[in-house]
Amino acid sequence: MASDVSNLQLRNPWSWYPVVASADLNPGTLLPVVLNGEKLAVWRSSKGKVNAWHDRCPHRGMRLSFGAVNGETLICPYHGWTFGDDARCVRIPAHPNVIPSRAARARLLPVAEVDGHIWICSGEPARSEPDADSTYTPVRTLHLQLGMEDAIVAFLTLPCAAGVKIQPPEDVDWSTSNTGAVVTRSETLTASFTLPSSIFCETTTETGKGKYLIRIQPTEPGGCAVQASMTAGSDYVAFNRALVAFRAEIAQDKIKSWLRSAFSKFEAAVPVLVDGLTQGEAP
């Protein structure tokens, strides 16, 4: 099914993907993130500026994510090389009076902070800003042992609701809206997928109605991270528990084989969709 990282992602290398909730990255902290097979160090300076760099010190290849944020700089834990927020090395402790060479710089990626999430683009962004939605509040970053497209199909067809056991629906109606969104409708779930990886979901189950937004972050082959959000005031704790249960349910063989057949419907509905282009344009 999903190839290298993901077929979808390979067609959309200039998309913005959310990787962590803003509230989950405090000033003066850093986090390792994997995006499109690349290890990144995402950090926030004391003054609040967010940075996303390749997780590799240009000196001897040590992972920067094991270092520390100090004010507006990031310090590598191997030799203490200190980098300013433009990714240039500003201090080499072994030679405190030497100005580091211009070649001594980390590789940075475009980063944006919009609507409660930190977004990263692996290449040249097609859109100046991520396609965010301020009506949703981030609830959880959940990693799955599932390819990105498999995860999209799972959320497009199976409801994630507290206390509800997953039952693959008898009938799922697949359609494409005139804006290019892939829409699914079944008894318990109505969902809408837009590029690069957003799924807006509304559930109707025996426990009531639910509404949530899922964005899938492509991490590495065979894996992805779910960035899950809900509208403000929802029961976040219940939804987090529902996500944990969802993760366990979709790992079952019978659900996995059902998802495989659903996947071919998804592929038929998403022939050549490329983020950042107007519907009808050649990619």
């Binding site: 290890k39 000196h59 001897r60 040590m62 992972r63 030799h79 402790p93 072994a94 030679h95 001594a104």
Partner: protein
Amino acid sequence: MTRTNDQVALDEWYAVAFTAEIPKGSSETTTLLGQNLTIHRGWDGAFQCALSDGASETPPLLKERYGFVWVSLGRPSHDIVAIAEFEQSGRRFIHRGRIGVPSSGQRVIENFFDLSHFSFVHTGTLGGYDSAEVPKYSVEYRENDRELWAVGCSFVQPKASAAAGGASTIYYDYRIPSPFISIIYKDSLVKVGKKDLIGLFVQPHDEESCTVHSFALVHDEQNSPAHILHFYHEIFAQDRSILLHQRPKRLPVHPRREIPTISDASSIAYRRWLDRSGLQFGLDRTSN
């Protein structure tokens, strides 16, 4: 696991075991350069090495030296590294124990003779944040260019050895007689004017993992072996936790791959020396 066909790597001697750890009448299996081996010790105490597979390959050579079993899968043009201090009296031999490292042997060696990480990786022992500056040292080639040396290295060390009482400036010479061996000659704090030795004999399993066999020859009659070992293990494990996160795991030798600074003179020389040697195993020779 496939045995390498890098003849430069094969034509070297490698420590593969500590003799005292293989009782008579028993054997140990291990891997060297991708080749699975069985080291057997007879009831008479003598060691033998057999290839686990590959009867068609050159029979391995085996020698005992310095308390270790050494094997070559090729035909080295030189003998096992000469360490004259083993013949001298006055120092205590410490077997530091083998440590597995999921990185190339050359990354391990390069870390061993690097000084500029002392203040950050070995804070409180080999270095401190407030004295991280690395004074100039020299790089030399000896033994007809077969050995690389970094001489006259020095550093302010809060606790330079298990025997150290307080901070002092310590002088080091580093010897790299082959790509996978390095020996430190370090000021002794017990016998002023004399040197202690710490050595690494790296046994590469494959290009991205190795076992490090390690010893010390120190002027220290006072401290217990456990006390001395804890000191060394703390330092080695701190290095190991860096080594396992370095990328790429193989040592890049192209000058533009990783950015050096002044105190990296020995590592620049080591990478250049490796590049010229024709060695492929464990190295990343790509240019970007």
